[in-house]
Amino acid sequence: MSPPPVLTISNLRARFTPSGPWIVDLPELSLAQGEQVLLTGGSGTGKSTLLHLIAGLLDPAEGRINIAGRHIHALRGPARDHFRGRHIGMIFQTFNLLAGFSALENVMVALMFSDIPRAEHADRAAKLLAALGIERQDAPPEELSVGQQQRVAVARALACGPELVLADEPTASLDPENAAAAIDLIQSACRSQNAALLCVSHDPSMQSRFQRTLNLKDLRRGGPLVPSGFLAQ
């Protein structure tokens, strides 16, 4: 018997305003445990919006998203925040590392909001960074190279041992060589923790690196396609 999927989406619809066009209109999607999927699509097809819906940062108008067996939008307020911190890791195009914090602290911040005992935080973060090749763990992000900053961002996303990692255009600001290295790093890190990876990218060269590639345009149920943005939360 195969393990239950980490992510299942059914009949998901989201739009800016109650009478506006659908920005996201996705009949179904699922990711198995440890599966790595690339989600492609042109600009404005709602890729980032979909990731924010999956992370519970936005609410859909219709449909259901289950993560690790839980309907994330049924969770309210702090419960959803705790759930996201525990089960979902996010990697951003510009890394979004916290200014004023060292590399180690950037990873430890993620652990602050988890159930992992505080005494283990420093050790766990240090080991994770070391495994990703970060030696100067006390250095602030601005003193690290772009590649090292990306490794810190990956370590932060994986710090709490999430079942699902969402990567939003993680290579968009990198040259092809560094982009390949970065995606290798993300994939191998997720593989090492058996975390499913849903990576959004408009870079066609990424397709060959994933087990499965989905085009959001193909997945749409139909209806008008409008430039995407962010929904009111």
Binding site: D81, H82, N96, E105, H121
Partner: protein
């Protein structure tokens, strides 16, 4: 890693803004503390000024002026009382003491009070408090031997030229036990107020005084006075009078004094009371009887101080209101600093939310950050106030003779400190609400 770490990092990232906000709180706290301390301490010091006397008799223009001149050494009382009048005024009254005082001379700007030795034995600087010596001894009478001259032939009328120096006066003039000095006719205030000798103060060089005692601080205006024997005061002024008639005379003795040389400027009066009590049924009739004499002014020091407090009450209230306004404006400063920082911190807040931080925790982080600015400002303000109090206390002691303890009361410090922290936390509520409502998805977009 704790919430405190996040707050400290956030404060460090905006170091300049944090430092200026902390400074504004510190200045407000220090100002409030100094003002409150000065107010309380000066009220106490003013109230203590009269010591254990019940009444002050003089020829000043009003009871309040009498107290300001006779106790606080504001100016030498302009109209004297003769010794005969003193005996008439104080005769046949149920008095515990009636100590004559004479003002008008000074030494290096410090006032001189000529009186009798019972000033130190009967008049108390505070109710139930005795005078205490830091060194030496008190004044003595004409027939009392000087302990330091034991075995030597007594020097005639040496008692008249002995000085006991108040604690603040000793500090201001540098006088020590055994030092000698010459008094100056008039005071710096009287010279400033149009005394014809203002430009050339007259120094009584013919008579050398000797310091025989230095007092411990009493927290009263007398700390800045030099206290001498009344006989000396009479002799040096009689000598001036005699020199006008006969410039060749070298000295003046008690025997040379005329009745008109025996002048005083005030009388410290205490009516008879039961032992250990400051209240006397005799006080109202004595007061009434003395007031019936139109040639003198009779003041109840404590009552006059209350009158003074009422007069300056509005100023007092304005000062306190100003201090509170400064504190509130520093609270507004905290709010603005945090509010403005929210623009640049939206991304940080969004990232924290993605990592699992709840909206409530974001709110509490910002409020705690504001409270920590308040706490840092309060601590810096208290330290600033400790320095400020020393400076103000010194100025008050030197300029108006008001001795106040240059220390902050723990309960005052605690209440102002807690108030500053609470006010700062309150100032953090609006920025915290802004942070609470920060849209996450919008603020995760790549910059540019």
């Amino acid at each position: 890693m704790t919430d405190l770490t996040i707050i400290l990092r956030s404060l460090r990232v905006r170091l300049f803004s944090t430092a200026t906000t902390v400074l504004s709180v510190a200045v407000a706290v220090a100002l409030l503390l100094v003002l409150l301390l000065m107010r309380d301490a000066s009220h106490q010091a003013f109230a203590r000024g009269g010591g254990n006397m019940h009444l002050l008799v003089s020829r000043d223009s009003s009871p309040l002026v009498s107290v300001l001149n006779g106790i606080f050494y504001a100016n030498p009382p302009p109209r004297p009382i003769t010794w005969a009048e003193y005996e008439r005024i104080t005769g046949n009254l149920p008095l515990e003491y009636a100590i004559p005082t004479q003002q008008g001379d000074s030494y290096l700007g410090q006032p001189v009070l000529a009186t009798l030795p019972n000033f130190f034995t009967e008049f108390q600087p505070g109710e139930g408090e005795q005078w205490q010596l830091a060194s030496g001894r008190f004044l003595r009478g004409p027939t009392d031997p000087a302990p330091e001259d034991a075995g030597n032939p007594p020097i005639p009328e040496a008692h008249a030229f002995e000085v006991v120096v108040g604690a603040a006066a000793a500090k201001a003039t540098g006088l020590r036990l055994g030092d000698t000095l010459h008094l100056t006719h008039g005071t710096s205030q009287s010279r400033q107020l149009g005394d014809p000798n203002a430009m050339q103060p007259h120094v009584h060089r013919e008579f050398t005084y000797r310091v025989v005692g230095v007092l411990k601080p009493t927290g009263t205006p007398h700390d800045r006075a030099l206290i001498t024997h009344l006989d000396g005061g009479w002799i040096i002024h009689a000598h001036d009078r005699r020199k006008i008639d006969d410039p060749s005379i070298k000295t003046t003795m008690m025997a040379d004094l005329l009745e008109r040389d025996k002048l005083i400027t005030g009388i410290y009066v205490r009516v008879l009371t039961r032992r250990g009590s400051d209240v006397s049924a005799s006080l109202p009739p004595v007061f009434a009887k003395l007031r019936s004499d139109p040639s003198i002014t009779v003041a109840q020091p404590l009552q006059q101080m209350n009158t003074l407090f009422r007069i300056i009450g509005n100023v007092d209230w304005i000062l306190r209101a100003m201090a509170v306004v400064v504190l509130v404006s520093s609270g507004v400063g905290i709010m603005l600093a945090l509010y403005n920082s929210m623009t640049e911190r939206r991304r940080q807040i969004a990232v924290l939310r993605v990592l699992g931080c709840t909206q409530g925790r974001i709110f509490s982080l910002v409020v705690t950050e504001a409270a920590m600015i308040g706490l840092a400002g309060a601590i810096a303000g208290i330290l600033l106030a400790l320095v400020g109090v020393q400076v103000v206390a010194q100025i008050l002691r030197q300029e108006i003779g008001l001795s106040i303890p240059p220390a902050l009361a723990p309960e005052l410090v605690l209440s102002v400190g807690i108030g500053a922290v609470l006010l700062a936390a309150l100032a953090g509520v609006i920025p915290a609400l802004l942070a609470y409502r920060t849209p996450v998805a919008n603020n995760l977009k790549p910059i540019g």
